[in-house]
Symmetry: C3
Subunit: 428 residues, 3 copies
């Protein structure tokens, strides 16, 4: 009974076309060109590496893409239990026209050929979007991205600000910022000019969010103008040799200024909380970051109080932080629960975290899911995974446990899956 | 099968009359007088505020209660997914004689009228208790409560001590204590006299527990008499201007003294661990507190060892602390797991936490649930929510997973729901 | 449907004979001689003590074993909800030939007699192993264990190193080490000689792992030779009066040296992370330890990076650390998830933690379970508990949620339950 109920709810959730509110899509090359774009995704390379595939085997400069795919294929066996593997199988079956449950090394070549053929179709991008029921996706744009050459109604710009907060001491970042904004940052005033320029440019191009990922120790606070001037001055003259306390003060000053500009330009500020970068420095590309789950949203108390008009869609990296997220979103009007991020984007954690959010946060304040994808083909399996779990939670916890009708349960699902995105991240 | 099994267990759990071992009931006005008493509960105001209702709209001094209710009603739509909303719907259906699944703004007026009519009945209080299968409820009394004018067998006094531990530097608190006890606290000796007076008065009036809520950083320890004398002397002369270290030492001295008196007067000491007050200072009344889930019961190691004869029923605010609670109650004879508090009082967390406790803590050392209510009408939906989850856990984890008979499973449920309360909090 | 499916998977998981990769078995007395060996297990004494049985009642020097058993029996009622109690019931029913669901005080005597009779059989040890489907078990050997007098193919030595890291300042430990290794540790060089001797001896006797349990604050780091020399010199001259900083530095130096030797001798290094010893010092034997769940694997970042060739099977004491374990094992090739330890060895936490591991960690990098037992009779109920949960997770999350065949699901289960042990802990 429950399985059929889940299945019906899944169908209802699968009908509408939606917007994916956070991705790393390159709008100039959104879809894959070959299987190397699919299996090169860090989820596969890092798991294969963890299972024994040497980094040198897949990151050699002169490695032919097809050879890389074949090497990864040989390590899929040890991964075939993982949910990440199931994404690949679903792509293979739903988008590449195969029918297989378990992928074997001998599938590598025919699959490579088939993928090359399909992806060469000039409508491949459109087909993928259509079959994935996607109308648009949010991007992750560097602050100096020119935002040109693509349809911003389909590929919606978002201003990513990690470099500004955490790497403003780096000469290369300073130069990029000076170059794109026309302002060399040496104090608070020039910082504001430079950042304001970026917000204006992004806003003009239809940006619908500002975003940043943050380490566990981060605890934003305002910095006095005098202290910010001194810190930014030190960064301007000493670069990465500036004192750690100046680099930290500068970072907090930049972050606070970003929040002020989000308020002024009415942009939600996506906070992705909890990542430690390069924990495993010898790991494969994009497979080096981990975390310390000892983090609390109390670190953001001052921020949430200071900016009541800024919406903060929050992602947390560890499931143990999810209850705090649910509680803070339940109390603070400007805190919104956002998706299931990275190491928490696996079914057991999604199910537990989603259920806790659905029953405690107003239904209007939850963004169900984003794919975080780099290539369009991943929206389909990732969203389908989420929809199955959403259907399960709605079936078991609403229809069965609380006696809701299926229609009412499906409508709640559609709100967090689809409708809220447009309301929380409005068009200009 | 499982749903029917759950239903039968729920019926078995619903039969007996029980004591609610923690509430904020005012014994001089225990039941609601109007719908404003129901919808004025912070769970509704804070969620409506979080969903967009301005604080000024519901906290204006001259706001008519019916108008307040109508304003909150207009924000119920965004909350109708929450478990808190379901409590209101259950009150409406089970106590107010309506039959609705979803409440709409147009229901506000007829419901208001119906509630006024029913609540005007001189037997309303008795009816609510009867329909809720409640024989008595524990109160939360200020240390200077006169404890007069009510039946202490139905409304059982409990000495709440937050002010004494955390606000003894406040002149108003000092005056209240001096006034009710006849002792001005200036050192350890006068502290003991004042507190002993309060314990004696409460004990005389049938108090069955001492209680306190504690912030995450709290780590109780004994304070030497000399240090306590100095700290209490500073508080006596400087009030809130006393040095922070003196205020802290005084707080720990008071807390330790309370534990000593709990031992002497044989009162269980309810510890509610983990709340940060006024995190969202601009929030609505009682909707400002949150928490930092980075707390550990290791902070209470010294306390649990020093007072082996004091029972400590412990509530934790965050589900991530629940495993520690289960483990400490499994090892320490004087640690008892107590209810599902506040932000952990939602089905997903109750289910996970309850299951973990049932399978690891002796059955005699668990208080299943308390309502924490301010008005009697809330016991019914809150306890029913708990009973449904208890029935689910017993059905799935005992009858199905472990092959228990239904009778045996129901008996375990009744022990944690009903029988343990009278044993752990005995009558004088 | 799901219950039958679970049952079929459980049967499939129960067929093969397995190795138990972590126990505290004494190979010279592996099986119980009487019921006192069973009910003397700390899980029963500590729970009975927690439920009210005085420590003096069961730890008196002159207490007759049968009397001890009868005293514990009288406190089994308050524990009969716990999973630990169910282990005893399963032993009674599966190994001791009784048929009871609930044990009453009057069962104590007949059960005592029956157990004495059965356990006197010279084949009892073999029978227990046979019925438990065990081919071998890993031991926990003190560093100065002579490793003689037993079959090391059945009882596989493992070098336990807590004393070396945390108690090298104790004269008794220093003497034991000098005595067994022939090297008095006064500096880095003699430390290496002494430890190398131990590794060589253990390796010669077929040891397949080095192991240690670690407190929450532990964060291993290399120590310079000069600093290690100074610290070890201080320990040699001052013993436990050595400065805390020297004792700490010595501990880290020893730990790092152990990791180096694990690399050289190709021994996996089992890390059991998170225990605080003697939190409840007045508790019964082995019932005094608890924990602080605020621990992170980020504390082991430097270690995991420094020893890429050492396998680190990791156990965590608190379920809230399990997601970090899953994530670190997903990224680091040398991190392996290992079993469900102690306070996390109860069904609710096993189920949640196991599901999260299965879906995110390569299937080759998970040791499903170990019994941690002191007497052979406990493997049967503990492994059966685990197999039931494994069957449940495979049924619900693989067959139902993901459409896997039963065969494929069972094969995944068998890999983590059985096959991985031999691969991760290879024979010399």
């Amino acid at each position: 009974m429950s399985l059929e109920l889940r299945s019906r709810l899944y169908e209802a959730l699968s009908e509408p076309f939606i917007i994916d509110p956070h991705t790393h899509i390159n709008p100039l090359a959104p879809a894959s060109k070959s299987l190397a774009d699919i299996l090169g995704y860090h989820y596969f390379t890092e798991l294969a590496h963890s299972a024994g595939l040497a980094k040198s085997q897949i990151e050699a400069d002169d490695l032919a893409p097809q050879e890389k795919v074949e090497r990864i294929f040989r390590y899929l066996g040890p991964l075939n239990n993982t949910i990440q593997y199931s994404w690949f199988v679903e792509i293979v079956n739903s988008l590449l026209g195969f029918e297989v449950e378990v992928l074997l090394p001998e599938h590598a070549e025919p699959l490579w050929n088939k993928a090359v053929e399909l992806m060469a179709d000039e409508n491949w991008e459109d087909q993928v979007l259509q079959r994935s029921h996607l109308t648009a996706v949010f991007l992750t744009n560097d602050f100096d991205d020119r935002l040109e050459g693509f349809n911003t109604e389909r590929y919606i710009p978002c201003l990513r600000t990690d470099d500004l907060v955490f790497k403003l001491a780096h000469p290369s970042v300073r130069e990029r910022l000076a170059s794109c904004s026309g302002h060399d940052v040496t104090d608070s005033a020039s910082l504001e000019q430079a950042l304001r320029d970026r917000f204006q440019v992004f806003k003009n191009r239809g940006a619908r969010a500002c975003a940043i990922s943050l380490p566990p120790h981060f605890a934003p606070r305002p910095v006095s103008t005098a202290r910010a001037d001194r810190a930014l001055g030190q960064l301007a003259t000493k670069g990465r040799d500036a004192d750690a306390s100046d680099q930290e003060a500068a970072g907090y000053a930049v972050f606070w200024k970003l929040a002020e500009l989000c308020q002024e330009y009415r942009l939600p500020f996506d906070l992705m909380i909890g990542v430690n970068r390069s924990v495993y420095a010898a790991g494969v590309y994009q497979g080096q970051d981990l975390y310390d789950s000892r983090v609390s949203l109390i670190q953001y108390q001052q921020l949430f109080n200071a900016f009541p008009e800024v919406r903060f869609p929050i992602s947390v990296l560890a499931s143990v932080t999810n209850q705090e997220l649910a509680s803070y979103a339940w109390i603070f009007p400007n805190v919104i629960a956002n998706g299931h991020w990275w190491y928490s984007n696996t079914p057991t954690y999604i199910e537990h975290d989603l259920a806790a959010r659905l029953e405690a946060i107003p239904r209007t304040k939850q963004i169900g899911y984003y794919s975080d994808m780099y290539k369009l083909e991943f929206a389909l399996p990732k969203f389908n995974m989420y929809k199955r779990i959403l259907a399960k939670v709605l079936a078991e916890r609403y229809v069965q446990d609380r006696g809701w009708s299926e229609e009412r349960a499906a409508d709640l699902g559609l709100q967090v899956l689809q409708r809220n995105t447009s309301i929380i991240f409005p068009v200009n």
